[in-house]
Symmetry: C2
């Protein structure tokens, strides 16, 4: 955050000189993932002459919904119609698909309400209230507490706040840590668990250009899917929703993106970034590539194997490109140099001010935590397959249930129970062959990380090779059966001690060490949180509170105009059109991921090829924003975020509006495709266009 804040200081200094006249739009960065209770009203007014009213911001907030699987969305009708990305929906599309009906690949359209398909385990959250609880959280941590005591006290007060708020309101209530520990806000959500699939195009339309085009621009993707939320078996009434714009996004138009950016790391110190650059990101990338190769191999066996691995593979390839972008940004010496410079300046300023001098040790604390992270990085126990995760949740739930709510691990608190059960008892398909391949690889990887002679590894292997052991466990477990899971949860600890299920045994076997690792990680996080809270104080003290915190997968507002950029001396226009999609297909030989679906060709005559397809704007987004509506000042949908360009990938650490752009599907494309390609008049009518 400090680099970017420093950049803002420079900009403000220039303001003073120029009076923000004339060249303002060149000078003011459209940076920021703003809290809905702290919108950048001054900046918006100064740069765009627009001031969001309370009503405006409440309408935006309540028209948005979050996909708990990791994405954003919005209501686009008063009858609970929800728009998101195909790639956000894909987890559900795969769960609804079978060998015979591959909705994930071939698309889906419900002819009427009755035909809308219930998702097995989706949870959607609509944010309805935000409250600052910083004081109550911080008061629970007493001076002189050890890091682990402080972490426990903080966890306990957060659990209590969540439980009280949840019981009082009936809403999902989460305390969110902001500014790396500088503030704590209570977020309250209305929860929807009856979510049904309405329409999805083919994967070839949504992901046109495939992995090669991912994070690139120009693009031509129809990355959209429609769901509907239900209550009591009927479409939910959703008075807050975005109307559909008649003309959609226009060049240079000011737009807003409301969604849930997952995680940024702009507050990270130079030492923390070095840890990311030299240790954490290489470690994660090795894992990602390993999984990518494994899934590709798995898919070579047959078309059905390929289908089973596809959802995971898509996510992994997406992550690989995103992480490559991150590490490449950090390996660019100019970025790190700028960070170091601004950090040195900040530290000097803090040390020079007697009121702030007590904050100056924060950077050193964070640096020392990174060294500990390096040591523990390879000790983590990662056996996360679907079956193992279920086993672990059952085992941990039984133990946590016996503790008071405030002392439980966050995932097992009362406030999270409904979400947990939604996942744990999901009837979504699990493929034993895929489970076995992944588990065998994860056990092998754990043996590599710890050395195969490690006592825990030896206990897991039971004298078999990793693959043979995985095969024995996957074929021996009964956890595929949802009723068996429910029975085990009901029996609690006694059921677990009685069962001979090998996957449960595995979860029990590693539990002690998993908890030890979690406690150690918590302690480091607490040390960091206290240090980042100090840094946040230093920022507030020197730069004021009109800043935004790093992303936390909670609702934020970003803004900026529709705008192209220059690349290698070439102008990249903001908009593409449908004609471009057909040309893109042709120039790549209409092969593989560059083949448009047959439905496009069948509808080609009916379509206006000048219809905008995708566009870019300067809004500050990151992974998690996928599926966010792009709206105009009049609260109308003009587009749908689905990607960022390759230059935006360093946005995790540094915002820049020089070339970094968000990529959206144009609202006209969505409307016309539903109408002319997919025959979804029912939905188009519901949108009122």
């Amino acid at each position: 955050m400090k680099t970017t804040l420093t950049r803002r200081i420079i900009i403000l200094a220039v303001f003073l000189l120029t009076g923000c006249l004339g060249r303002v739009s060149d000078l003011c960065a459209d940076e920021g993932m703003w809290l809905f209770n702290n919108l950048p009203k001054d900046a918006l007014k100064k740069k765009y002459g627009f001031v969001p009213t309370e009503k405006w911001s409440e309408h935006v907030m309540k028209s948005c919904v979050r996909f708990n699987v990791g994405g954003s969305a919005s209501f686009v009708s008063s009858n609970g119609l929800v728009m998101t990305n195909h790639h956000v929906a894909s987890d559900t599309l795969y769960k609804l698909s079978t060998k015979e009906n591959n909705y994930a690949a071939d698309g889906f359209l419900a002819k009427n309400l009755e035909a809308e398909l219930k998702a097995p385990d989706l949870e959607l959250n609509q944010l309805v209230n935000i409250e600052d609880v910083t004081k109550r959280v911080n008061d629970a941590v007493k001076a002189g507490m050890s890091s682990s005591d402080a972490a426990a006290a903080r966890r306990a007060v957060i659990a209590t706040i969540e439980k009280e708020a949840g019981e009082k309101s009936g809403l999902r209530s989460d305390v969110v840590t902001l500014y790396g520990g500088g503030k704590y806000h209570l977020y309250q959500y209305k929860v929807y668990t009856d979510v049904r699939l309405v329409w999805a195009p083919e994967a070839a339309a949504a992901f046109f250009g495939g992995d090669a085009d991912n994070f690139e621009y120009p693009r031509f993707c129809l990355d959209v899917t429609m769901f509907r939320v239900y209550e009591d078996g009927q479409p939910a009434k959703t008075p807050h929703f975005f109307k559909w714009s008649k003309n959609g996004a226009d060049e240079e138009e000011l737009t807003f993106v409301a969604g849930n950016p997952g995680r940024t790391s702009r507050i990270l110190t130079h030492a923390a970034l070095r840890y990311q650059r030299d240790h954490r990101l290489p470690f994660v990338l090795d894992f990602i590539r390993r999984r990518e190769v494994l899934l590709q191999q798995f898919g070579l066996e047959s078309d059905e194997a390929k289908r089973r691995a596809q959802d995971n593979l898509f996510g992994i390839q997406n992550a690989r490109k995103a992480y490559l972008g991150k590490i490449q940004g950090l390996q660019d010496p100019s970025n790190m140099w700028a960070k170091l410079k601004s950090e040195k300046e900040m530290i000097a300023k803090v040390k020079a001010d007697p009121d702030l001098a007590n904050l100056a040790d924060a950077w050193e604390t964070i640096s020392s935590v990174q060294k500990k992270r390096i040591q523990s990085m390879k000790r983590g126990i990662s056996l996360r397959t679907k079956l193992f995760t279920i086993a672990q949740q059952i085992v941990q739930l039984a133990a946590e249930n016996e503790k008071p709510n405030a002392e439980r691990l966050p995932a097992y608190r009362d406030s999270a129970r409904a979400s947990l059960e939604q996942q744990l008892f999901s009837p979504a398909p699990i493929y034993p062959d895929l489970e076995q391949a992944i588990l065998g690889d994860l056990i092998g990887r754990m043996c590599e990380m710890r050395g195969a002679g490690d006592p825990l590894c030896r206990k897991i292997l039971k004298r078999l090779s990793p693959n043979d052991r995985a095969a024995a466990m996957v074929s021996g477990t009964k956890l595929m059966d949802v009723d068996f899971r429910k029975e085990l949860v009901k029996q609690g600890k006694s059921g677990i001690s009685m069962t001979n299920d090998p996957m449960i045994h595995l979860a029990v076997l590693v539990d002690e060490e998993v908890r030890k690792e979690m406690a150690a990680a918590d302690e480091l996080s607490e040390m960091e949180q206290q240090a980042y809270a100090k840094i946040a104080k230093a920022i507030f003290a020197t730069q004021g509170t009109s800043t935004y915190p790093d992303a936390t997968f909670t609702l934020r507002l970003a803004f900026g105009p529709v705008k192209g950029y220059m690349e290698n001396g070439k102008n990249i226009p903001a908009m593409t059109d449908l004609a471009g999609a057909f040309e893109h297909e042709k120039s790549h030989g209409a092969k593989g991921d560059y083949k448009l679906p047959a439905t496009y060709h069948a509808a080609k005559e009916a379509l206006d090829l000048k219809t905008p397809a995708n566009f870019v704007n300067t809004t500050d987004i990151i992974g998690g924003n996928s599926g966010s509506p792009v709206i105009n000042k009049e609260l109308e949908v003009v587009g749908l975020i689905f990607d960022g360009n390759i230059q935006s990938l360093t946005g995790d650490y540094f915002y820049s509006e020089k070339q970094a752009r968000s990529v959206s599907v144009h609202s006209n494309f969505i409307r016309d495709a539903m109408k002319y390609i997919y025959g979804a008049e029912r939905i188009v009518n519901e949108l009122g266009r």
Copy 2:
């Protein structure tokens, strides 16, 4: 080696009991990659009643040729016709291919001698003489020398032996280290550098089933390519060659494989295997997967990009499967337990014998070397692209040329000069886009390994990101031009100090550290070599000298019958046939790598579908054996090695004939394919069949 030798002791013990009667074939392992000057005559006589004569073994030795790019081959006519695998030839096939004439994918047939295509930089070696020089090498190392002095003395005497022998005979003369340092033999080769492509089938025929089927069985691959060696512009006269068998390999028939297994590690101690299992192999696999993903991404851009990356990708995918097999073998606790047990027995035996007790510290020495290897593993400088390798060779050659021959790095000794120049001045195509992608990734990887703040990394980057720096160097270098390379080599050190070529600058920049790393590695190797020499002495003393050393990419003989195996309770027959190939295509939907070439379908009527396609035998082989002829007692070609099954992949460390099998193309398949599918009567006639 010790596990396997111990196994042999057990077997021999059983011999004594049973007198090797009746169930002999169940008891005697067909283990061993035997030296041509120490063939297992007793074992062959006992088990198969066959004693190879001197003449027999000389004929085999001189009928074989080695591909220096990493493969085996044999003469199959008196006119220099050479048979190897398509995948051994592929390096050359890609170098001869262009966007327009893709011989690597589409195959090639020279209608007549004139049409045979000269390979740009192939070197083939025919072994003609072996001499034991152990005493002379060991005498050069004096008692009390430090490891680095000993390494230097050993290098110097080896260089002198090679130079003297080369000058005296005009033959390529290499001193080979055997038994990890227990023996040194001088190998002398006749060298062929005018090698021409005669015939290659389509990649779809050679690699039918692709990466999915690689290392699997049953198989149906026509993994063969024919070359011809020339001397003075005429087909070379090759009086030693293998005749073509009329009927080819038969079930249960005793067969021999003569070829150049690249590297095995059977002598490794338990500590050395733990280093491989927990450190080295995971490190290499991470690199392999990284390159695999990079090349796949590169190939997504276009068909031509895919073609450019294909050769490298094939090799990488092959290596990934092979290394996975290795690590999985080591992660199987039963294998490591057996190794540990036999090692403990050996150490006890050595300690109990006063004549051997001075050898007992060898295992501890090796263990201590492994710890140092772990520390230095990530410090190595690996920037190996084609252009960087050329730059590095030019820079190092200039420096080494100024030293006496015996003190030079091995690659720059007089005895290796011809081979070096063959590579260095090769006109084979270099693709700047691919070079740039790989170099950028390698620089990025180096920054990860050392930390991007490492002084050498910073010097390399020159304030640019890894990819930008790679782009600047690849676009700025003139090393694509062979004449420029020749000129730089001619000018030597002064030319290098004058040039502003960025790739040469890079090679100069890293040279000091590269040499430091090499020296450190040499010192560790010397410590290991002395220790393994002790272990070899212990083996000779306790088990006799009728053993084979680990593979060293020199000519070895393996033996064993054509024989199927049991897998998951199912009998896998030794042979497949052509009908099976068509069925295999059909059962996989005739898609992707499971699509047979159109030429097969066109010739289907003419073919006898009962013709054997591939077969397995129990011969002990490993990577490097690819392209080895399978011959019978009568010195006829009955097949062509091209793979091992998945169970054979642990053969690097442990031989087993339970399921591990070598996989060959049947000689009848090769002959009939040339005749009926490819219209290569000219070649079939030359084979005399």
